[in-house]
């Protein structure tokens, strides 16, 4: 029995808890991509940099707050700064839309033109971010580091395997739940949300029934900016903030959005978790698990790893490619925003 409990603790520590946290971050990012895709109908390559920008804004305000001696007790101060970060990111999104994307909307440009334009925005934002905060690692989390420490867990349960839960992981999961609940409430219950779903579903019909397209676009950017700032900050809290990492995150986020069915918010969330968990499951070394579950004589010698840990990111691309091949419309196909 203890063996099974030990296995559970082991799997929780290395797969379930990190998977839930990383999955939430991916899901929030993928929701932003899906939002742009559903309303503006293009794949936004600049979304990673938008997240980076949001995280950067939050970090700068966190530093200002810390300099004033403000803190949030056991929770990271960044959570206090986050609302300001969100506002700044929304302003950035609206500004970019006004200055760049609106022109192409009026031209009724092809999706691929938008894509190239978003690459330009990506370059510009990437440079701007490195110009403001520099290319280096920034650590900005404070407060208590752990909700549950390995030692405390072992003492509490008497198991030989420990379980650690970082505060950032707990904060990530709870914030993600709050944000997603608010988003779904907005999309399903409010008049504006419904008009957005209608617009995403059938543009012409929505226009005929008197929905103002520019208003829908503005709200879509507000939601996208919010999601991007939250996702970027949470990722930065969990794994430290590096400007270059967000270009690497872009693909797993696209993968999440596409795996779930692009344009579908529920799919983006499911996709985020599918990508996060599969990356962890495939690169986890099962040696200890098997040692607990099998009789002593059958315990394996090697690490029992399907793929080396270096391939963690590559797994998500592999899933992306397989999904595009087998079911390009994603798991929740046929449903839009």
């Amino acid at each position: 029995m203890t063996d099974i409990l030990n296995t559970l603790a082991l799997i929780s520590n290395f797969i379930i808890v990190p998977g839930l946290a990383y999955g939430s971050q991916l899901a929030l990012g993928a929701l932003g991509i899906t939002m742009v895709y559903g309303i503006l109908r293009f794949s936004n390559f600049a979304h990673g940099e938008t997240m980076s920008f949001g995280a950067m804004a939050t970090i700068l305000i966190t530093w200002a707050l810390q300099a004033q001696g403000v803190s949030f007790g056991v929770l990271p101060t960044a959570l206090l700064a986050l609302p300001f970060g969100i506002l700044i990111t929304i302003a950035l999104c609206l500004f970019t839309d006004r200055l760049v994307y609106r022109y192409y909307r009026s031209q009724r440009a092809e999706p691929v033109t938008y894509l190239i334009v978003s690459v330009g925005v990506m370059f510009f934002l990437g440079g701007l971010i490195r110009f403001i905060i520099g290319p280096n690692d920034q650590i900005f989390s404070d407060g208590t580091r752990f909700i549950m420490k390995v030692r405390a867990f072992k003492e509490m349960t008497g198991l030989s395997e420990g379980l650690a839960i970082k505060t950032s992981q707990g904060v990530t999961i709870i914030t993600a739940i709050v944000i997603v609940t608010l988003l779904f409430w907005f999309l399903n219950r409010t008049r504006t949300g419904k008009s957005m779903r209608a617009y995403s579903d059938n543009e012409d019909l929505a226009l005929l029934s008197g929905i103002n397209p520019e208003r829908v676009v503005i709200i879509a950017w507000i939601i996208t900016g919010t999601l991007a700032a939250v996702a970027g900050t949470l990722y930065g809290l969990d794994k430290s903030y590096k400007p270059f990492i967000f270009l690497q995150l872009l693909l797993p986020m696209f993968a999440s959005a596409i795996v779930g069915g692009v344009g579908n918010p529920l799919g983006a969330i499911a996709g985020g978790f599918v990508i996060a968990f599969s990356a962890l499951i495939v690169t986890f070394a099962y040696k200890k698990v098997l040692a607990y579950l099998l009789p002593l004589s059958m315990a394996p010698e090697g690490l029992m790893q399907l793929l080396s840990t270096d391939y963690k990111f590559a797994v998500s691309f592999l899933i992306l490619v397989i999904v595009l091949l087998v079911k390009p419309t994603g798991i929740f196909s046929g449903k839009t925003l």
Partner: protein, 437 residues
């Protein structure tokens, strides 16, 4: 002013700018930039073949360039006898097993059409069994190979052939990969194609980074043989010594310039050949057909053109050109460093070149390669000087000034973004627009 005159003027301005760097900074710097301009121009020609001729958005440029680099080490580095004896044959056998599994997998997929939805299962079983079999064969070989003097070798090495051959082989590697990628991804819509190729190129880089037995991974393969003489060898020749004495030049600088010039000669030759071939192809009935497919797929296929096959063809051709450029780049560097392959530099920057130069026009792609690479390198010193000028009114010890000067180097990303956005908005057809035929 006629079109040709205008275009020649643009090229002349570009050359004058490179010469300007030669005069202001040094001829060594100017030639370094010029060589990379040539390689960039070839890469953007490759992208232009895919995007400009056929409208295919390939965001996997980085992967194909890296495969070209792989060709350079496989062709030119010397074989490592110890590792070959220890596990070379077994590794090859493992790869063959993997290939065999893939063939059986495709065969199963094709032969089980009648199963409809349940079709995935047999193929998946074949894939899983094949993967396990390959790992069983190849894993011991890999660990023995990587254990042999990991600090010096720890990989199989190459065939010790002249590195110039690798330019061709690099093209073939990239073409083979492109055929597989094209088979998988070309049926997708434009933006899905971009995302899929971006993902595949990342997978290629992960593979090159982690399969140490083939590429030494992040330990890099250095000291690849050169197609041109070494500076040291040149400095010891009598003719160069007397020549520099006569003109009163520094022999070290002159030898380095000569080496760079010989590289430039090689690259320029390749560029001219590829440019001539591309132009001929574009003017031929084949080019006309490609444009017809690009502009209206439905109409072209109604006229009996096989759109899928033509897309695959042009995708493979373009990727082969990118692979050649990748091999040339590794040759110029003299080393293969998998971690240097970043999508920003190897995929998106090449795209900026094509768009800014003028998609659909080969001369435009070449000019774009020159202009963008030039600014990519020169944005740093220019940005620094600009910042120095802007902040000159500030206090010498001002932290803001120090910060601005320190981060001025990142101006180049912003410059690229700005150039791309401005061109897309105000001259969407690029510096040298496509000819109306």
């Amino acid at each position: 002013m006629s079109r040709t005159q205008k275009n020649s003027l643009l090229f002349l301005i570009m050359l004058a700018m490179v010469a300007g760097v030669g005069i202001v900074q040094s001829w060594n710097v100017a030639l370094t930039i010029f060589n990379l301009c040539l390689i960039s121009a070839i890469m953007s020609l490759g992208v232009n073949i895919q995007w400009g001729y056929a409208g295919l958005f390939n965001a996997g440029v980085m992967g194909f360039a890296a495969l070209g680099g792989l060709a350079a080490i496989i062709i030119s580095s010397s074989p490592v006898a110890a590792t070959w004896e220890a596990g070379g044959m077994r590794a090859i056998l493992g790869l063959l097993a993997g290939l065999f599994a893939i063939i059986i997998g495709i065969f199963t997929w094709k032969k089980t059409v009648t199963l409809e939805k349940k079709r995935y299962w047999p193929t998946m079983v074949v894939a899983v069994v094949g993967y396990a079999l390959m790992r069983l064969i190849i894993d011991p070989a890999i660990s023995t190979i990587e254990a042999i003097e990991p600090a010096k070798t720890g990989y199989l090495g190459g065939f010790n052939q002249p590195i110039l051959l690798s330019w061709l082989v690099g093209g073939i590697f990239a073409a083979a990969a492109a055929w597989v990628v094209g088979k998988i991804a070309l049926g997708l819509r434009s933006d899905y194609l971009a995302i899929a190729t971006l993902g595949i190129s990342e997978i290629i880089i992960y593979f090159l980074k982690n399969e140490d037995w083939l590429t030494r991974g992040v330990k890099n393969v250095t000291g690849l043989p050169r197609p041109v003489p070494y500076e040291i060898a040149l400095q010891q020749t009598a003719w160069l010594q007397s020549w520099t004495d006569n003109f009163g030049l520094s022999i070290i600088e002159t030898s380095s310039i000569l080496v760079k010039l010989s590289y430039a000669g090689l690259f320029a030759t390749v560029l001219v050949i590829i440019l001539w071939l591309s132009e001929t192809a574009l003017r031929s009935p084949w080019g006309r057909m490609m444009r017809a497919i690009r502009d209206n797929e439905v109409a072209a296929s109604a006229m009996g053109k096989n759109v899928t096959w033509r897309h695959l063809q042009v995708f493979v051709l373009g990727s082969a050109v990118i692979g050649m450029a990748g091999a040339m780049l590794t040759t110029l560097d003299g080393q293969f460093t998998p971690s240097s392959y970043q999508p920003l530099r190897f995929t998106f920057l090449i795209w900026v070149m094509v768009i800014v130069g003028g998609s659909g026009n080969n001369f435009g792609a070449v000019l774009g390669g020159f202009v963008i690479w030039f600014f990519w390198i020169e944005a740093e010193p220019i940005g620094l000087q600009l910042m120095d000028l802007i902040t000159s009114g500030m206090d010498e010890s001002s932290p803001l000034r120090a910060h601005l000067l320190e981060n001025a180097a990142h101006m180049r990303l912003m410059t690229m973004g700005l150039i791309l956005l401005l061109v897309l908005r105000f001259a969407p057809r690029g510096l040298i627009p496509e000819k109306k035929r």
